[in-house]
């Protein structure tokens, strides 16, 4: 409120950090999101070294042990060839996280420059970029991705390529609208008056001020990308067994429902928690990065 607007405050970077933490800790859902995402990242980093049955990662065959229900030895039970499901789900975190992050960053790397270019250039170039983007956006993403993978051939690499190809247009839209609004800010005019070139205005003013909403979108998109890859895996177009990928695991586990329910449950729960975590974190980041919430 206006009353607090004239506050003088402590050193900026530390205050910002404390403020961010305060805003984050104030919200239960943001904290839950942070907790879930941290958990998945930790699993992805150290997973292979902490799993109880490292030999099961590559997919050994131990039929004597197959389809065991959850027990103290196998918390999530074992699969149809006797591998420990907990082991495979933990290792799968690395696959899913890498794929989710990879898709999101690649899509942003394509979409953001195009969007900012469109927003700043205006005119025909903008029309061309935006109409081309609309073309992609007018087809349901997953359907387009399925068609692309079908053409490229199944496999985790091709699934990523297909998802990147359907994912970038969202970033064009966001970056363009952000660039359009920042372009009208008086401080951009001030930079022009100071004699700044277009490139400098872009680098120094437009990009840094567009980052916040992009970070929020990327956080949420990582969760969505994990889900999309799992979906492709589920219909057999993504990772191929025995790669420990969550979607592919559920795809096989489907055949063992309902008697061997634990097989599908473990990867399902992990997908759910990962998507939930990134979405909640994205929400929390939006609250932190929105300057209007600064006053608390």
């Amino acid at each position: 409120m206006s009353a607090a607007a004239e506050e003088t405050v402590a050193a900026p970077p530390r205050r910002r950090l404390r403020l961010a933490l305060w805003l984050l800790t104030r919200s239960f859902s943001s904290m839950l999101g942070l907790f879930l995402v941290t958990g998945i990242v930790v699993l992805a980093l150290i997973g292979p070294w902490i799993v109880p049955y490292p030999d099961d990662v590559a997919g050994g065959v131990n039929l004597a042990n197959k389809l065991q229900p959850p027990s103290r030895a196998h918390w999530f039970g074992t699969d149809e060839v006797g591998n420990d499901i907990l082991t495979r789900v933990i290792v799968g975190a690395r696959v899913s996280l890498l794929v989710g992050i990879g898709i999101t960053f690649a899509a942003a790397a394509i979409g953001v420059p195009l969007g900012i270019l469109a927003g700043l250039a205006g005119g025909r170039l903008r029309e061309a970029i935006m109409r081309f983007t609309d073309l992609f956006l007018s087809v349901p993403g997953l359907v387009l991705a399925i068609a692309l993978v079908a053409a490229l051939g199944p496999g985790i690499g091709n699934a990523m390529v297909a998802l990147i190809l359907v994912w970038w247009p969202g970033y064009v839209r966001l970056a363009e609208s952000k660039a359009l609004s920042i372009r009208e800010e008086p401080f951009i005019e001030a930079a022009r008056v100071a004699g700044a070139s277009r490139a400098r205005i872009l680098r120094r003013h437009v990009l840094p001020n567009s980052i916040s909403p992009l970070i929020v979108k990327m956080s949420m998109d990582i969760g969505q990308a994990i889900l999309a890859v799992a979906s492709l895996g589920f219909i057999g177009l993504g990772a191929k067994p025995p790669t420990p990928e969550w979607g592919a695991m559920i795809s096989i586990a489907r055949g063992y429902l309902p008697e061997w329910w634990w097989y599908a449950m473990a990867p399902g729960v992990f997908i759910y928690l990962a998507v939930l975590g990134f979405n909640l974190l994205g929400d929390g980041l939006r609250d932190i990065l929105d300057p209007r919430s600064n006053r608390g």
Binding site: P186, F187, A194, G195
Partner: protein, 319 residues
């Protein structure tokens, strides 16, 4: 007149609205037929209400937007049609101060970085010399070095405007265009900023184009004043003449509407409101609100007529 720093003739700007699916393109004549002469070291006030075109005029004169008609000369050089890259060296010599200092500063740059930016762009200084120069500039506008590393959200409105002024001074301009420099500020801070501006003008010989809706402030800062209404100058002359003995009915209405500290009660000095620039009245734009309008006012736009020493009025009835 030849050694005027800024000289604009017949300046006009028409904005073409986008044609809608079911409606024709709208045209808004934001500025029409404006002549401006600003001598070195002089201060010219541009006053008028919202939509009168004063901010558009500022951006035309700085060549931030291209004019639809007319010529602009800066220090004798015709800059009307210069390309952006050819304008860039001239930008050092003409600077702009915005109305809202909070929006005019990049929220991610500290005071030091904001003031350093023009110096970096033009490669004027770097390293230690740059930092010293920035500190000196901030000191000149009354901000001690404790403020160097503050970000905009840690500064008060007056402090932010001081940073903006320091940034504008960095390249040692000859012309400062001030677009409502104090209207976002509190009155006690406004007086401080006006003091800074007057000191700077005296010390550096700056010329000011001072745009404001606050007549008292313009009267204090400027020697000459032009009053705008719907894109045109309706009265122009010395501040003492225009604001002390106004001739145009609109200028009179404007002055009559300013609340004075001494007077209780408020008698509206003009009926109605400024017209929509997209649908301007025929003839003199002020005639629908004018108490003395005659038939001729409704049919043709009156010319600017000389009524005394450098005093011009766009109203034949005020002669």
């Amino acid at each position: 007149m030849t050694d005027a720093l800024l000289h604009a003739q017949g300046l006009a700007k028409t904005f073409e609205g986008r044609r809608g699916l079911f409606q024709p393109a709208s045209r808004i004549q934001a500025v029409a037929d404006v002549d401006i002469v600003l001598a070195r070291g002089a201060a010219l006030g541009i006053v008028g209400e919202s939509g009168c075109g004063k901010s558009t005029l500022a951006r035309l004169l700085l060549r931030l937007i291209p004019p639809s008609a007319g010529t602009i000369r800066f220090d004798g050089q015709d800059i009307t049609a210069l390309e952006e890259h050819a304008m860039r060296p001239l930008r050092r010599r003409m600077q702009l101060i915005h109305q809202n200092p909070s929006a005019a500063l990049d929220p991610r740059l500290s005071a030091e970085d904001a003031v350093a930016e023009p110096l970096r762009i033009h490669g004027v200084a770097s390293g230690r010399a740059l930092r010293d120069r920035v500190a000196a500039l901030l000191a000149e506008v009354g901000l001690p070095s404790a403020f160097l590393h503050r970000f905009p959200h840690e500064l008060s409105g007056g402090q932010k405007q001081r940073v903006c002024i320091a940034r504008a001074l960095a390249l040692q301009p000859e012309l400062l265009v001030l677009d409502e420099p104090t209207s976002a500020l509190d009155v006690s801070v406004q007086a401080q900023i006006l003091d800074v501006l007057e000191e700077l003008r005296a010390r550096r010989g700056l010329a000011y184009l001072f745009i404001s809706h606050n007549l008292a402030v313009v009267r204090q800062v400027c020697e000459r004043v032009a009053v705008m209404y719907l894109g045109r100058v309706v009265e122009e002359g010395t501040a003492a003449a225009v604001l002390g003995a106004p001739r145009h009915p609109y200028t009179r209405a404007l002055l009559g509407s300013v609340p004075r500290l001494g007077a209780r009660g408020m008698a509206p000095a003009a009926a109605g409101e400024p017209p929509n620039p997209a649908a301007p009245p025929q003839g003199c734009a002020f005639h629908p609100r004018c108490a003395i309008a005659v038939d001729a006012c409704r049919s043709s736009i009156p010319p600017l007529l000389a009524v005394g020493d450098g005093h011009h009025v766009r109203c034949p009835l005020s002669l």
